[in-house]
């Protein structure tokens, strides 16, 4: 019989596809995933940035040699350089230190150039000398002990391990990160709440069908699974749309950040792992939507006989 072949396409018992809450849910999830992706990219960038700072700072320190004061500039310079040599000689004996590099006149000029402009002769100024010290990988050093020993070698030397200014930046970045994480938590809560209420509304819309299913012997799980399946698909579709809008936005913000000179923000690049997390958001959103719908249905149906 021709008819027999056609009916194989089984229709869903709960007609959730055309229901008015579906579109709302999809738009809601799109917006949530967009906000989530953009905020998360911010958090992950800050993380990368902090990591970069830590990596570069932990492995290095700076030794400063105060300039000798003398009426004769040449003598003063010679004395300062002598102190520098003593410091370098001492630093080279420390086993945790890999490399000791005194900054050349040229390098020092470049450092002060933003403040004093071009055409400065470093020899005419009572300039401190700077020694860049690279520590061996993984080496831990007692800075106080090092500073004490160094001052014995030359009283004009002082050690700066960058911790002071870095700590302030880290605190600022941590504050930003906490703010972003709060936004993420808020987005999850609002989205789950929206799914909870749309699912309840939908249960109200389909009360008649659900009653019939119950009378036919359907368990709550049977109804909940249909909702979970549908919400997971809606969630995935909505999330993919949200992510599709979020990716160019993230690139846009990234390119704006790179235009800011100064080197701090430009270090906030997303790693491959961070992109992996952002690209997996639709699956995560779909899973949350599915679980929220499932447990909302189970909880709401408990109130029916």
């Amino acid at each position: 019989m021709a008819n027999q072949k056609k009916f194989i396409a089984r229709r869903e018992e709960l007609p959730l596809k055309g229901d008015s809450t579906s579109l709302f849910l999809q738009i809601m999830i799109s917006i949530a995933v967009f906000l989530f992706a953009v905020t998360l990219s911010g958090v992950l960038s800050i993380n990368t940035m902090l990591q970069n700072w830590n990596d570069s700072i932990l492995g290095s320190l700076t030794v400063q040699i105060m300039p000798a004061t003398h009426f004769n500039q040449e003598k003063a310079m010679a004395e300062t350089l002598a102190h520098q040599d003593k410091a370098v000689a001492f630093l080279k004996t420390v086993p945790e230190i890999e490399k000791v590099t005194p900054l050349t006149d040229n390098q020092l000029e470049k450092l002060i150039q933003p403040w004093l402009g071009d055409g400065i002769n470093i020899a005419d100024l009572p300039m401190p000398r700077i020694i860049d010290v690279k520590l061996k990988k993984g080496a831990e050093i007692d800075f106080i002990d090092l500073a004490a020993k160094l001052s014995q070698a030359t009283p004009m030397a002082s050690v700066d391990n960058h911790k002071l200014w870095l700590n302030k930046l880290i605190k600022f970045a941590d504050g930003l990160k906490m703010l972003a994480l709060s936004v993420l938590a808020l987005v999850i809560m609002i989205t789950s709440g929206a799914i909870f209420y749309t699912t309840q509304t939908s249960l109200g819309l389909h009360k008649y069908t659900i009653e019939i299913l119950h009378l036919m012997g359907a368990k709550d799980t049977y109804v909940a699974q249909q909702y979970a399946r549908r919400t997971a698909i809606l969630g995935l579709e909505g999330a993919l749309i949200g992510l599709a809008i979020a990716i160019p936005t993230i690139f846009g913000i990234g390119s704006l950040a790179r235009q800011i000179e100064g080197g701090i923000i430009s270090e906030a690049n997303l790693s491959i792992a961070a992109w992996g997390v952002i690209l997996s958001l639709p699956l995560f959103a779909s899973l949350i939507a599915m679980l929220t719908a499932y447990y909302t249905v189970k909880q709401t149906l408990q109130k029916m006989m």
Partner: protein, 241 residues
């Protein structure tokens, strides 16, 4: 000690059952009833006498306001939701208003009780086609209820009620809308099911049905239930007074 479950062999057992809606008066009071396995009863009473309320307690759509209702030996007040669902799978119901799902075809409507139980699709197809042919609806398997006549809808509703070979069949005016020639055929189906062990309760206003099929009768009047022997038409009104 409280006796939670009843294993006396009754399919349905009611003790001092009363039912009311909200704060209103009791629709049914002090109902005592025991339906043995394999019994066949008609249920009569004027409109508003509480037939549908009594049936709805039997098919576990509502709990009594007071008293004890046991279905298949389980006290419904102490049975959890999943167990109630399992009990409902043993009950077939034909509703007066059919209660078909309008967005589903006749086939899918009839298949519903089987799919809810998780039956394999091949077996579902075989059983549903067989039954739809038997109730002469095999040409309308794809039709949605909106395109079916009242009689056809009723046959779909009956097919849905019996597809799972229920242990208990409850029917509310099952032959009210069908043509005169198909009504006896449907009644024959109920009788055959009863012979195979299904307990049957049919709510009806049809004196002809009660006369043609001599089964005992549960009669609701003044909120209480009385049981009459076959062919005893007390309280029916009409020609039997």
């Amino acid at each position: 000690m409280l006796n939670i479950d009843n294993n006396s062999g009754s399919i349905i057992d009611m003790q001092n059952v009363g039912i009311r809606y909200g704060q209103g008066p009791e629709i049914l009071s002090d109902i005592k009833l025991s339906l043995k396995k394999g019994s066949f009863h008609f249920l009569t009473g004027k409109s508003g006498a509480g037939k549908t309320s009594l049936l709805s307690m039997m098919y576990l759509a509502q709990k009594p306001s007071r008293g004890i209702v046991s279905v298949f030996g389980k006290n419904v007040n102490f049975t959890n939701r999943d167990s109630l669902a399992m009990l409902r799978r043993k009950i077939g119901v034909v509703f007066q208003d059919f209660r078909l799902l309008d967005h589903l075809s006749a086939f899918d409507n009839v298949a519903l009780p089987l799919r809810v139980c998780g039956m394999e699709e091949r077996e579902v197809k075989k059983r549903v086609m067989e039954l739809l042919q038997w109730v002469e609806l095999d040409r309308s398997i794809q039709a949605t209820p909106a395109t079916l006549s009242g009689g056809e809808k009723q046959r779909v509703a009956i097919a849905r009620a019996v597809i799972n070979r229920p242990d208990l069949l409850l029917a509310d005016e099952p032959t009210g809308n069908v043509d005169n020639d198909i009504a006896p055929k449907l009644m024959k189906l109920f009788v055959e099911l009863n012979k195979l062990g299904t307990t049957v309760v049919i709510a009806t206003h049809s004196e002809k049905l009660i006369t043609d099929f001599a089964y005992p009768r549960l009669h609701l009047q003044n909120r209480s239930l009385k049981i009459f022997a076959p062919n005893d038409f007390t309280g029916m009104g009409g020609r039997h007074g």
